[in-house]
């Protein structure tokens, strides 16, 4: 029986999705769908997710994101985007006959997890599904496979995405939750910071999220020697040649449909085109990942966070973690990211351990590719929750099966819940629930 498995790497910036059949695993490339509802003032239309490819006018695009600070809060928007993904325009799967692999953020809240379950089983009626974090899929994938050896038992995944950056240690395929650390710097913050800098210094770009995202991805890089680069960009190089760091970016032109591009020395600039001069913004924006206190965020930088996370692990295993660090997520695509992180980590690592970083060719789809490999494994169905299990016991079925941070909390949670229901019983009798105001417990429909 052909069982199609749909894979949905549900990220805050973009959804990486595809459908595989385990019997014939041709690895088709992931489709990237922006996870937003975008309204274009120029075209006067609203684009849901994948439809943005049809957009002609990229200026002043207005984004409505279902995610807030990395977690899904706007389910109306998310459903609209997922409807588009499962429809014939993108995946074209019959959801009632398929399984699903879905990713969720790290430390996803239990009440939000219940809503994920509800949507998968009650709205789309999938046969079964597996929900996990992107890092736990990496242990099935090829990122840390070196020359035919099996993936290591101890690895540390740095997942730097749209909303935030997490440092996730993985031991024997399962995440060590007490050592996971979160840095609240993500692609969205970097783009907004760049918008502010450019708006103050040159043209007002506060509404131009799409264009500034392109500028960030084209021009920005991570510098390994910040002091030297600061001096170079300000005073120029000694030989008097053109400043090697300053780049000029030509903004896209809507009327002639020209895309934005970096100005090369031999290019000509038309009068109608607007040019941005990118000086120290090129490296000071990604610098926030390594020094968040540059913008006043009181958190440690990425290298310090990795050191802190490893120090929370058992001492005899720490050298193995230093040697197996994997990088995923869009922010790791900045040129110079790996070199800078390596040099900072080498000064923080203990003397007798070496630091090895693994970076994939495409960090954005790395979790998706690992999910493909995972879905093709013969024991994959044993990791899934089936629809019949859900209809029988509600979200408890997924709580039991998907091992996440709540495993340690389960005992505490049960005690807490017992106390709470006791309070609720004594309190809820005289209160008449007003109409139209659901308490938090509506999302926990069954099972409670």
């Amino acid at each position: 029986m052909k069982n199609i498995i749909a894979i949905l790497d549900n990220g805050a910036g973009s959804i990486k999705t595809g459908a595989v059949t385990p019997s014939s695993p041709q690895h088709e490339p992931a489709r990237l769908v922006p996870n937003a509802i975008i309204r274009s003032k120029g075209d006067k239309t609203t684009y849901f997710g994948h439809e943005i490819a049809r957009c002609k006018d990229y200026s002043s695009l207005h984004y409505r994101l279902p995610f807030e600070k990395g977690y899904v809060v706007d389910w109306d928007a998310e459903k609209a985007i997922w409807d588009g993904v499962f429809s014939e325009q993108v995946l074209g799967v019959n959801t009632t006959e398929s399984s699903l692999v879905l990713t969720e953020p790290y430390f996803n809240l239990p009440n939000i997890q219940d809503v994920y379950d509800q949507f998968v089983f009650e709205e789309y009626e999938f046969l079964s599904y597996h929900r996990c974090t992107p890092a736990s899929l990496i242990s099935h994938g090829k990122l840390l496979e070196a020359h035919g050896l099996p993936p290591p038992e101890c690895m540390l995944i740095v997942d730097s995405g749209f909303s935030f950056t997490h440092v996730v240690p993985i031991l024997n395929g399962s995440i060590v939750w007490s050592a996971v650390r979160r840095l609240d710097v993500g692609g969205k913050l970097l783009t907004n910071h760049l918008k502010e800098l450019i708006s103050f210094r040159q043209w007002n770009m506060m509404d131009e999220t799409y264009i500034m995202n392109d500028v960030k991805e084209a021009c920005c890089y991570v510098s390994t020697d910040l002091k030297k680069d600061m001096e170079t960009v300000r005073y120029g190089s000694k030989s008097g040649a053109m400043n090697p760091i300053v780049q000029r970016y030509v903004l896209p032109d809507m009327s002639t449909n020209r895309k934005g591009r970096i100005l090369r020395p031999e290019d000509m600039v038309l009068d109608s085109e607007q040019v941005l001069v990118m000086g120290n913004e090129r490296f000071s924006v990604p610098e926030i990942l390594f020094r968040p206190d540059d913008i006043g965020l009181n958190q440690s930088g990425l290298a310090s966070t990795i050191a802190i996370s490893i120090s929370c692990l058992p001492e005899d295993l720490q050298p193995m973690f230093w040697e197996n660090i994997g990088l995923i997520g869009g922010n790791t695509k900045f040129p110079g990211f790996q070199e800078r992180l390596l040099s900072e980590l080498q000064s923080l690592a203990p003397m007798n351990s070496e630091v090895v970083l693994y970076k994939s060719d495409d960090p954005i789809t790395e979790a998706y590719k690992s999910a493909e490999i995972f879905a093709a494994k013969p024991d994959f169905p044993s990791h899934c929750v089936t629809r019949s299990e859900y209809l029988e016991s509600g979200s408890n079925a997924s709580r039991r099966k998907f091992r996440d941070w709540k495993v340690q909390a389960e005992k505490a949670h049960v005690n807490h819940a017992v106390e709470r229901t006791r309070d609720e019983h004594s309190r809820s009798q005289p209160i008449i629930r007003p109409r139209g105001r659901p308490r938090g417990s509506t999302s926990r429909g069954q099972g409670r």
């Binding site: 509802i37 984004y63 409807d83 014939e88 809240l109 969205k188 965020l297 909390a409 429909g445």
Partner: protein
């Protein structure tokens, strides 16, 4: 002997009452406001932006007393989905789904309702997983041009790098950022 000249007119700036030093709470509050602004994506549900232009009259009030949405954006799509699920066939969705779609809660509400704040401290959760503050002193960058900010504005404590940037700062951005 001539009278000794008093040193009052040479008193240092430190004792000068007109140059008030900034309380760290004000600076922290300003930093927090700035960070919140950076986290924002340009959407607010109270405006009528996500409704088409020709339906202005319907978009006037989007909130009823019960904070439910009146129009769902996901109902407006004409898509073909295979299968017989409620999403595909426009069947009525279950109570849970309709509840989740109609009532939008922001992240703070979700965190409160999840009850993770009351977990014992040995359990890791979203609230405990943030990295600790940095051990290194922060370095200041000029707010005007981005070079090292070696000097701070007297009135609002924003860093700048040289006289040119100080002039630009005083004309445009100073005092407005004071909370």
């Amino acid at each position: 002997m001539p009278p000794k000249r008093t040193r009052e007119h040479l008193s240092r700036q430190v004792n000068d009452p007109s140059s008030s030093t900034f309380a760290p709470e004000l600076l922290a509050k300003r930093a927090r406001n700035h960070l919140d602004e950076l986290e924002r994506s340009n959407h607010s549900e109270l405006t009528s932006i996500d409704v088409d232009d020709d339906e202005d009259e319907a978009s006037a009030v989007k909130y009823t007393k019960g904070r439910a949405r009146q129009t769902l954006i996901s109902d407006k799509r004409n898509l073909k989905l295979a299968g017989s699920s409620p999403a595909a066939t426009k069947k009525k969705s279950t109570m849970n789904i309709r509840g989740a779609l109609l009532y939008r809660k922001n992240l703070a509400t979700w965190v409160d309702e999840s009850g993770i704040a009351s977990f014992p401290s040995s359990v890791p959760s979203y609230l405990t997983a943030a990295t600790p503050p940095s051990k290194y002193p922060s370095r200041l960058l000029c707010t005007v041009c981005g070079y090292w900010g070696w000097y701070k504005c007297r009135k609002c404590a924003m860093p700048y790098c040289d006289l040119n940037c100080e002039g630009i700062h005083l004309e445009t951005r100073c005092e407005r950022r004071v909370v």
